[in-house]
């Protein structure tokens, strides 16, 4: 993974729960441009433990003077968002990966329908720049809990004018997905990012209305869920690794000094896939990458978010 050493150049409190962080490169050089929807993985050393979380890049992708991310303080944070909110200050040094895009716009779309819930607005903040610049046909539908959470509404209204539609839950407004999706012209692609329930509802609604599968795009980064501790045997490395309740399998493997492939670390990209040789228990798949058939077959696991309930699990690594 190619990385940049960065310095925090600015921090803005956007809402009571969301902070926006701006990064500049430590060596003073400029960042490369990126494509709308890209994210970076931020590495944080928290009490001697390495945390790596993915965050969407905001702002202009074309000639970025700085990279910007928005971070929502998670109620049950394992450390990443709490660390960024409470410990990181202007001048703090961090390491981030080069931008990577798992949520790219399909450039052949006749129309782009963007649907965001809460902090799920972040990948759209850069996509909108691309859409405006390329004079593409798009609409943004943005739902959030209350005016307290109206993170980027005014900026969006300024940029997108009549193309943005805002739904504030506390004012009794919500997106009628069925109505929205059933009136779109053929050739529309829909993109959704937000809470799991919203993403699932949109995908199911689109499918039930007969939308082609490759016109439905979603992105959800998961925080690695905690679970019961278990042991994993690495066949090639010939060592056994203990995975504690609060650590992901990938983190435990890395902490044991074994190099494992990874990219997004949020169950979305598929890069960290490992081959399961055998287990005497159940694999607890929690990723969005493997197909249902793959999950049922039990031959593959995504160690960034998935776990096992077992006495022993053996992996080809």
């Amino acid at each position: 993974m190619s990385t940049f050493k960065v310095v925090v150049s600015n921090i803005q409190q956007i809402t009571p729960l969301i902070k926006q962080f701006s990064f500049i490169r430590e060596d003073g050089a400029s960042f490369p441009p990126f494509s709308g929807g890209s994210h970076v993985v931020v590495a944080m050393n928290i009490n001697g433990r390495l945390h790596r979380n993915p965050y969407s890049l905001m702002g202009s992708p074309q000639a970025p003077d700085a990279y910007h991310i928005a971070v929502r303080l998670q109620e049950h944070s394992r450390g990443g968002s709490a660390y960024l909110h409470h410990e990181v200050k202007v001048g703090s040094q961090l390491e981030i990966t080069y931008p990577n895009n798992l949520f790219a716009l399909d450039k052949r779309a006749r129309k782009h329908l963007l649907v965001a819930g809460g902090i799920g607005i972040t990948p759209f903040m850069s996509q909108i720049d691309d859409l405006i610049r390329t004079k593409a046909n798009y609409e943004l539908h943005y739902a959030y809990r209350s005016q307290d959470h109206a993170a980027f509404t005014s900026a969006l209204k300024e940029k997108c004018a009549e193309r943005v539609h805002v739904y504030v839950e506390s004012e009794g407004l919500s997106i009628d997905l069925k109505a929205l999706l059933s009136k779109q012209p053929l050739g529309t692609h829909v993109y959704v990012c937000g809470p799991n329930a919203m993403v699932v509802a949109l995908i199911e609604t689109a499918r039930s209305l007969g939308w082609p599968e490759n016109h439905i795009h979603s992105e959800q980064f998961l925080a690695p869920p905690s679970g019961e501790p278990f042991k994993v045997k690495l066949a090639k490395s010939n060592i056994e690794v203990h995975v504690p309740a609060e650590m992901s399998m990938l983190e435990a493997i890395e902490a044991a000094g074994v190099d494992a492939p990874y990219s997004c670390r949020g169950g979305a990209c598929g890069r960290c896939e490992l081959e399961v040789i055998r287990t005497d228990g159940v694999l607890v798949h929690q990723d969005h990458y493997l197909s249902e058939a793959d999950k049922a077959a039990g031959k593959k696991i995504m160690p960034c978010v998935s776990r096992a309930k077992c006495q022993s699990l053996e992996i080809n690594l």
Partner: protein, 345 residues
């Protein structure tokens, strides 16, 4: 590095030759005595000084003659450059990457001056100088990909990533080993690799696709591929088969050394920043058997590779007509002594 560009041809009278230096740096692809497809992808990092991998895009003594040959091929068949409309942004990415790389790596040959979005590009060997607005197609009299495709050695494909695969949606192809852009444009990964033998069984294509889909910005990769060509001809396209296909019948035991060439492709892949597309660059190197066998190691090794090559690969690479003659010719240069691992001369 100062380059003396050679006056030579890749067609008709075929005056192309390699200097001693070009032979020494030739990217010989065989580290051992046998060959089979594998996912032989490695990071495209800076190689040793003078090596073909020293820079992102290699410019060598054949640069001017190769660019002239490209122009000829394109003049005869405009379809060698094609781009689907949604690849416009990827084209600017390609232009930026090649201009930045060449002007940084060969400052005595190329220069790029930027005044905001107003860019001035100068190519001294080809006598080209243009000022244009980056990202504005109206400021250019040709597509950005065609413009730079004419000025960088090798062939270029732009791959769009969607639907869990890669699509060959734009290309500038004038030195291909018997495949057609006109046929392949718009195809998905598994479609255009369909004819390659043995690889499905090996799972090579699935693994390579998964790897490339995860290709990172700032971390390009490369691999070598190879075939053989009669005469030092760059344009061995199916469209022009009548012009070169028959040459395979002209090989005799007396002319193998000058007629038969090993053709090596340095293939490199770059994730492009603005478009999220992937640039696939295919740089072709040609070396005659006479030139190749100036290295005793290469002579022995290539003899053994060719002799033991799987029949499916002989067929697919189009070597059937002249393989046995070439093996016979090479056998005289192989004393059977062990050749240590490695591709060096």
């Amino acid at each position: 590095m100062s380059l003396a560009f050679k006056k030579e041809t890749f067609r008709d009278d075929y005056t192309y030759q390699n200097s001693a230096e070009a032979i020494r740096r030739f990217p010989f692809p065989f580290a051992e005595d046998s060959y089979m497809y594998s996912v032989n992808i490695e990071p495209h990092t800076k190689g040793p000084v003078g090596a073909v991998t020293e820079f992102a895009f290699d410019i060598d003594e054949h640069y001017v003659a190769e660019c002239e040959d490209k122009a000829k091929t394109l003049a005869l068949d405009a379809g060698r450059y094609q781009a689907l409309p949604h690849m416009a942004e990827a084209q600017w990415d390609f232009l930026e990457l090649t201009m930045e790389s060449l002007s940084n790596d060969y400052p005595e040959l190329f220069s790029l001056k930027k005044d905001g979005l107003l860019w001035t590009w100068e190519n001294k060997p080809l006598g080209i100088k243009n000022t244009f607005t980056f990202g504005d197609s109206a400021s250019f009299d040709m597509d950005p990909m065609e413009y730079m495709g004419r000025q960088v050695q090798g062939d270029f494909v732009l791959l769009d990533q969607r639907n869990g695969t890669l699509y060959a949606d734009a290309g500038f192809i004038t030195s291909q080993a018997d495949w057609s852009l006109a046929f392949d444009v718009g195809m998905a990964w598994h479609e255009w690799h369909g004819p390659v033998p043995q690889v499905t069984k090996l799972g090579v294509m699935d693994r390579a696709l998964k790897f490339l889909m995860a290709l990172q910005l700032g971390a390009p990769v490369r691999r070598l591929n190879w075939t053989m060509t009669i005469n030092p001809r760059l344009d061995t396209s199916p469209e022009n088969y009548p012009l070169w296909g028959g040459d395979r019948n002209k090989v005799t035991i007396d002319n193998v050394g000058e007629l038969v060439h090993l053709r090596v492709e340095l293939q490199s892949l770059f994730r492009l920043p603005r478009s999220n597309a992937i640039l696939f660059s295919i740089r072709c190197y040609l070396i005659s058997m006479n030139e190749l066998t100036t290295s005793a190691r290469w002579a022995k090794r290539f003899h053994r590779v060719l002799k033991s090559l799987h029949p499916d690969l002989v067929e697919y690479k189009g070597l059937t007509k002249f393989k046995d003659l070439t093996v016979q010719w090479l056998s005289k240069k192989d004393d059977g002594a062990e050749v240590a691992l490695g591709t060096h001369p």
